[in-house]
């Protein structure tokens, strides 16, 4: 009889482990970088987490703040980015740091990157941002950065709220995952 009771409790435990209704977890991301390449990780993770049922908050500060501008014109820079290599002519090519300082090199790198993005079926940042908004990702624009770099909410897409460090910290204390990108 006791073995029967044990079997029942085991099966209940078994059911509770993987098949249980998923727990609601939440995520926050501090977005600090605004170049084309660095804009990807926060938007990819935010949209994916939202698609997986997590409430997500993105806090845009410093160079991440312009990612909320209505019109995006994102670029990559090869300068100082010694790990940046792109597939070219059957191999991976980088640029010596000195060359990256020549005017037009960043623009050319940006065009190449955008072509690769299109060719490989990678979403544009504009699309990912639209999907984040659609998925009701909460977006907070850092008020201090707005003042510092002289932006106004009129320059930004509709949706972001204004907030500061305390707003973020409150959100972070309630989130299971907190990322700084």
């Amino acid at each position: 009889m006791s073995s029967k009771a044990e079997a029942v409790s085991t099966s209940m435990h078994g059911a509770a482990a993987p098949a249980a209704a998923p727990q609601t977890k939440s995520m926050s991301i501090i977005v600090t970088k605004g170049s084309l390449d660095w804009a990807y990780p926060p938007f990819i993770l935010a949209t994916t987490a939202a698609a997986m049922g997590l409430p997500v908050t993105m806090f845009f500060t410093f160079y991440g703040l312009p990612l909320l501008l209505k019109k995006l014109d994102l670029k990559v820079t090869a300068a100082g980015n010694t790990a940046m290599k792109m597939p070219m002519m059957g191999m991976h090519m980088g640029l010596p740091n000195l060359v990256t300082a020549i005017p037009g090199v960043d623009a050319a790198c940006s065009v190449m990157m955008k072509n690769l993005i299109k060719k490989k079926g990678v979403a544009s940042i504009e699309d990912l941002r639209d999907m984040a908004i659609e998925a009701e990702v909460r977006m907070i624009a850092c008020q201090m950065t707005m003042d510092l770099f002289e932006y106004s909410l009129d320059d930004m897409i509709e949706g972001p709220e204004l907030g500061g460090a305390a707003t973020y910290i409150e959100c972070a204390t309630q989130s299971d995952i907190n990322l700084f990108i």
Partner: protein, 76 residues
């Protein structure tokens, strides 16, 4: 035969997942969504997606570099 089919061929991470999530909303509870993808990373990602969201990954297979997933809409 699946209730809905999503063609995610040629799309890269995270688009197959994002589009699948959207498509699942159109599938009635208990119904199935078939997804076709070419992203090899989508195998691990759809497994994780289903574990996290509570939808059932009924089957997945690969044929001629096309990955096929069948997901049952079992989550709330």
């Amino acid at each position: 035969m699946a209730d809905h089919t999503l063609d995610a061929k040629g799309l890269n991470c995270p688009l197959p997942i994002l589009k699948a999530r959207k498509a699942l909303k159109e599938v009635p509870p208990g119904g199935t969504l078939e997804i076709l993808a070419t992203d090899p990373g989508s195998v691990a990602d759809f497994e994780a997606f289903c574990r996290q969201t509570g939808n059932e990954l009924v089957e997945h297979s690969v044929n001629d570099k096309i990955y096929r997933f069948l997901i049952r809409h079992t989550a709330a």
